[in-house]
């Protein structure tokens, strides 16, 4: 587990220097120094991250009409020029350019760099990605034997907690909270996200040897942001093997067993639509693209619905059930390949 400075940064951090990062397979050029290793300078950049003053945002949003987000976690406004403004009161504000190529960031109060990561590289970046034609999912993913499996479900359904159980078992995190897929010849590849996971303290203590170096996400939750080392995180894209859609926490009672049900492609599609990271950007063009893309994913990636009692001590058993299912999937695919070749 890496140490975090928990440093608070001023808007003048970085100055004129731009740092280069590769996250979610996307090339980022950032005026804000993020807690990742710089990659080699890039000739082309997908998204530029720029720090700006409150006056900049005030001017940009002078005529904006603010709307609560679908989850009411933040407020947003779609501006007349195609830009998108997002705001977490007392934390951060962001402006995403119409073509998704630039994100301007501003601090609204004392908040840590680790906290900024969560908001900037999650919701704010999702606007940029959708505007550039990507369809990120609200999912957490771990790597099993060189393949990714992804956990989908609404906030609070336990995706990160389940991932922590896998990390404790020696597997590595591909990404927490947002998953970007790239189409390949063989199917889809999950892209590596920031090397951090958000967990409640008791989960971190149980599965990740404590909370040393962890930083609170914000003042309204106990959730911590924990930076991960290379031993706990994966830094390359990997084939997506399967999706696991988590049922609501109260669906399965404490003494009931783990339920694992295969989903049809149609049911998988509906789960993907519900699991889209960004439900704010609408319009025919986006919906058509999302429809086509998610239908492709649904037709190529097997999915299961998983229900289990939300009891901490059950998580290792849930992990084992998923590992068995993944192994069975691999056996079935090998069998199908053998017969197809024969």
């Amino acid at each position: 587990m890496t140490e975090s400075t928990g440093a608070h940064l001023s808007l003048t951090c970085g100055g004129g220097k731009f740092h280069c990062y590769r996250i979610y397979g996307i090339r980022l050029s950032s005026q804000i120094q993020l807690p990742f290793a710089d990659c080699e300078s890039m000739q082309t950049v997908d998204v530029s991250l720029l720090a700006e003053s409150p006056d900049f945002f005030r001017e940009a949003t002078r005529h904006a009409v603010m709307t609560p987000s679908p989850t009411r976690w933040y407020k947003y406004a779609q501006l007349g020029n195609g830009q998108s403004y997002l705001r977490w009161d007392d934390l951060f504000e962001f402006l995403v350019d119409a073509d998704g190529r630039r994100i301007w960031c501003g601090w609204l109060g004392a908040a840590s760099l680790e906290s900024l990561q969560v908001y900037l590289l999650g919701h704010a970046l999702s606007f940029a990605l959708v505007k550039q034609g990507y369809e990120p999912l609200h999912a957490t993913s771990v790597v099993i034997d060189g393949n990714a499996i992804a956990f989908m479900g609404s906030s609070g359904f336990g995706k990160s907690s389940l991932a922590a159980a896998f990390l404790a078992d020696g597997h590595r995190l591909l990404t927490d909270d947002m998953l970007l897929l790239r189409r390949t010849d063989g199917g889809y590849e999950g892209q590596p996200g920031p090397r951090r996971i958000k967990l409640f303290p008791k989960i971190a203590r149980r599965f990740l040897a404590g909370t040393a170096g962890a930083v609170p996400m914000n003042n309204e939750t106990e959730k911590l942001v924990l930076q991960l080392s290379g031993d706990h995180s994966y830094s390359d894209g990997v084939p997506l093997r399967a999706l696991y859609v988590l049922g609501p926490p109260r669906e399965v009672r404490r003494k009931q067993s783990i339920q694992l049900i295969s989903l049809t492609a149609r049911e998988t599609f509906i789960a993907l639509i519900r699991g889209a990271f960004n439900h704010v950007i609408a319009g025919s063009e986006r919906l058509t693209r999302q429809y086509t893309e998610y239908l492709n994913v649904a037709s190529q990636v097997p999915a299961r619905r998983i229900g289990y009692p939300r009891v901490l001590s059950m998580l290792p058993a849930v992990k084992e059930a998923i590992l068995s299912d993944v192994a069975e999937l691999a056996r079935t695919e090998q069998h199908d390949r053998t017969y197809a070749a024969g």
Binding site: A265, R266, F269, I273, S284, L287, T288, Y291, L295, S299
Partner: protein, 96 residues
């Protein structure tokens, strides 16, 4: 529920996309931004409706494919058509 004339034919509404996946279907209405799923039977009914000159012709084709009473099939077909019409996913019009 909209009135359904079996002498009419059914057509997909202009802003509706439909894609078959794994034997079932997903429809997207771009106007309302809503999705509807059809299971295998619903998907087959939809396919036959769109291929046929009239709802009556579709009904007769489906009768040869499913082992149900004519009354049950008519009831199921009317129910599906009703849902599709109420959600403006299809239109019906007199045959040429």
């Amino acid at each position: 529920m909209s009135q359904i004339l079996f002498s009419n034919r059914a057509r997909t509404a202009p802003e509706v996309m439909i894609q078959e996946v794994g034997g079932e279907s997903v429809l997207l209405d771009l106007k309302t931004e809503r999705y509807l799923g059809l299971n295998e039977v619903g998907t087959r009914m939809w396919q036959v409706l769109l291929e046929s000159d009239s709802i009556q012709a579709a009904y007769e084709t489906l009768l040869t494919e499913y082992d149900v009473t004519p009354q049950q099939l008519e009831e199921d077909l009317r129910e599906l058509l009703g849902r599709l019409l109420d959600n403006a996913l299809i239109t019906t019009e007199p045959r040429d």
